[in-house]
């Protein structure tokens, strides 16, 4: 996925300003940055959820706008934070929606198998007949991830997947993202607030500030004392833990 000159204006104000970068295929990339840096807007634009003002998003050789919606949904899945539904669906019913881009309303035996696998992969077997609104936040998040797995896309985009999760579930979420990449060969892009999650579980980091890319590169290059202090405008200290940069801010 190649992003060139991507810009978004809201009421004349540039929220995202002329961004260009390439999302490395088969890797986990994190978008980080302070509030209002434009991370989620970029995520929305590269997943065709929001329109853009200028620029191009080239996905597998074609601009993302030229893709047929249904075909695109077999290649790219996006999970936003706005998935807090009132609807009473069981976990299995939710996961089965992931097969919609393939079979529409009629699930084939193969679809059922994919649903089973996705549920098994997220260890949701015992919950599969429970309603999603009766689950805990962590379980619900896993159910949505299972749906994305059933959707069987090469690209998986997750907008703040660790939001509202406690440390245990957040870390498990990050491990899942890692597994999606390592075991299933997917390209994963996440918007994250916690720099250390990004540093420990991702391959590349795109740090944004004021609608622009401040730094983009492999974790080690981006997570430095100077870079982070400049982007977040607070003091940072970087320690090395298990060969990864752990940032401390105060």
């Amino acid at each position: 996925m190649i992003i060139k000159g991507l810009t978004k204006n809201y009421d004349g104000k540039k929220v995202v300003d002329d961004i260009s970068f390439e999302i490395p295929r088969g890797k986990v990339t994190a978008l980080i940055g302070p509030n209002g840096a434009g991370k989620s807007t970029v995520m929305g634009m590269i997943s065709r959820l929001i329109g853009r003002t200028e620029g191009t998003v080239e996905f597998m050789g074609k601009d993302i706008r030229e893709w047929k919606s249904r075909e695109l949904s077999r290649k790219l899945a996006i999970l936003t934070q706005s998935n807090h539904t009132q609807m009473k669906l069981t976990v299995r019913e939710l996961v089965a929606f992931g097969r919609f881009p393939y079979s529409g309303s009629r699930l084939t035996p193969e679809d059922e198998k994919m649903v089973d696998q996705a549920i098994g992969y997220m260890e949701l077997e015992e919950f599969q007949d429970r309603f999603i609104d009766e689950l805990s936040g962590g379980q619900r998040q896993r159910a949505y991830i299972a749906m994305v797995i059933a959707q069987d896309t090469e690209y998986v985009l997750l907008d703040e997947p660790t939001n509202n999760l406690d440390i245990y579930h957040a870390i498990n979420m990050m491990k899942t993202a890692r597994r999606l990449c390592d075991d299933l060969g997917k390209t994963v892009v996440l918007v994250l607030h916690d720099i250390n999650y990004a540093a420990f579980y991702c391959d590349y980091i795109c740090a944004m500030a004021d609608g622009k890319i401040a730094r983009f590169g492999p974790v080690d290059e981006v997570i430095t004392k100077e870079n982070l202090s400049e982007i977040y405008r607070v003091d940072f200290e970087i320690l090395e833990v298990q060969g990864k940069p752990l940032s401390i801010y105060y």
């Binding site: 997943s47 959820l49 695109l72 706005s82 069981t90 929606f97 919609f100 529409g104």
Partner: protein, 346 residues
């Protein structure tokens, strides 16, 4: 197999009630004389009783399915053709037809009712999407206000052109005018409901939100407005023939969802059956209570419906959004106790 128990029970109940209803009325009709080939009785049976039953079945299934779809599309459990201005828009359409084409046939009025119900519903949904209320209760409140404004315009026009008499039969729903030759429009409900079944999953996905639909490659706005059109058409076909029937679209889907969740494919049949039973039972009560006269169905439904609605609210207050599980509580969900089937059947 357990999945189908409820459907089976509802089907049998409906069948029994339907047969019973055919033999309730001012003129007594009984199976023995029908079998004996009594001409007079057959005539009543075919001209009045059977059409009435069919109209009731179409109304009950149609209005409850319309309510179900509307609640899903608007992502709000309190929206229905009554609280979403659909019924009042259809009534305004009928009045306009009476004003501009005084000699219009039932079909002519139906076309007006369709058009205005569709437009009214679209405007309402466009409006609530534009404002995007934080509080779920605001949406039906706005709908009720919007409906009252349209109703006000209708009343004003009706008074201004002395149409109140003519209009009254569409304001309060009743089945007493249903007879062979002047109710067939209500059959339109059947193909519309088939459409609803075909697109059930689409409606479900749209009900999960805009981003969710886009992710799965579903065109959010196309499905939303197509679904609303189906809802408006179903409602208008009922209003043209029977008049305003409130509550069903609100209560029936909510009661069924308490037992079976919100997946349209899983609840559609039960919602339709329960709706039909509810309307049929109310109509039978209306026919029996002050026989040989009869109460308009709207009145009976209003009373029973509001009682059911209060019970529904009380249940929600006590148990939150927890689903009612009919099967015995497993250790895994020990918190779901065995519920009594409060007010399940009327």
């Amino acid at each position: 197999m357990k999945k189908w128990t409820m459907t089976a029970v509802l089907s049998v109940t409906l069948l029994v009630l339907s047969v019973l209803s055919l033999f309730i009325g001012v003129v007594s009709v009984d199976a023995a004389s029908l079998l004996a080939g009594d001409w007079k009785q057959w005539e009543i049976f075919l001209v009045s009783r059977l059409p009435r039953l069919l109209a009731i079945l179409c109304t009950g299934t149609g209005m409850s399915v319309a309510g179900l779809i509307m609640q899903q599309l608007c992502m709000n459990k309190f929206v229905s053709p009554t609280t979403g201005a659909t019924i009042s828009s259809a009534q305004l359409g009928i009045l306009l037809a009476l004003l501009f084409m005084p000699n219009s046939t039932l079909w002519g009025r139906a076309v007006f009712a369709f058009a205005s119900a569709v437009v009214g519903t679209w405007i309402f949904v466009w409006f609530i999407q534009k404002i995007s209320f934080q509080d779920v209760v605001m949406v039906p409140l706005v709908g009720i206000m919007f409906g009252n404004i349209i109703g006000g315009v209708t009343s004003y026009l009706a008074y201004r052109y002395e149409m109140t008499q003519a209009l009254s039969s569409w304001l309060v729903g009743h089945f007493s005018m249903v007879m062979k030759g002047r109710y067939e429009i209500v059959y339109l409900v059947v193909p519309l409901m088939i459409l609803a079944v075909v697109f059930a999953n689409h409606f479900n996905i749209v009900g999960m939100g805009k981003d969710f639909s886009r992710n799965l490659g579903v065109h959010y706005h196309v499905v939303l407005f197509a679904g609303l059109t189906i809802v408006a058409m179903i409602t208008a076909s009922v209003v043209v023939v029977v008049g305003s029937i409130s509550y069903i679209g609100l209560i029936v889907p909510n009661v069924v969802a308490m037992f079976k969740g919100d997946r349209i494919k899983g609840t559609l049949a039960d919602t339709a059956l329960f709706g039909a039973i509810f309307v049929l039972a109310c109509d039978m009560i209306g026919r029996v209570v002050i026989a040989p006269y009869e109460l308009p169905i709207e009145l009976v439904i209003g009373i029973l419906g509001s009682i059911l609605f209060v019970m529904l609210l009380l249940y929600r207050l006590k148990n939150g959004r927890k689903a009612v599980r009919i099967k015995a509580a497993e250790p895994a969900c020990c918190s779901c106790r065995m519920p009594e089937l409060e007010g399940g059947e009327v």
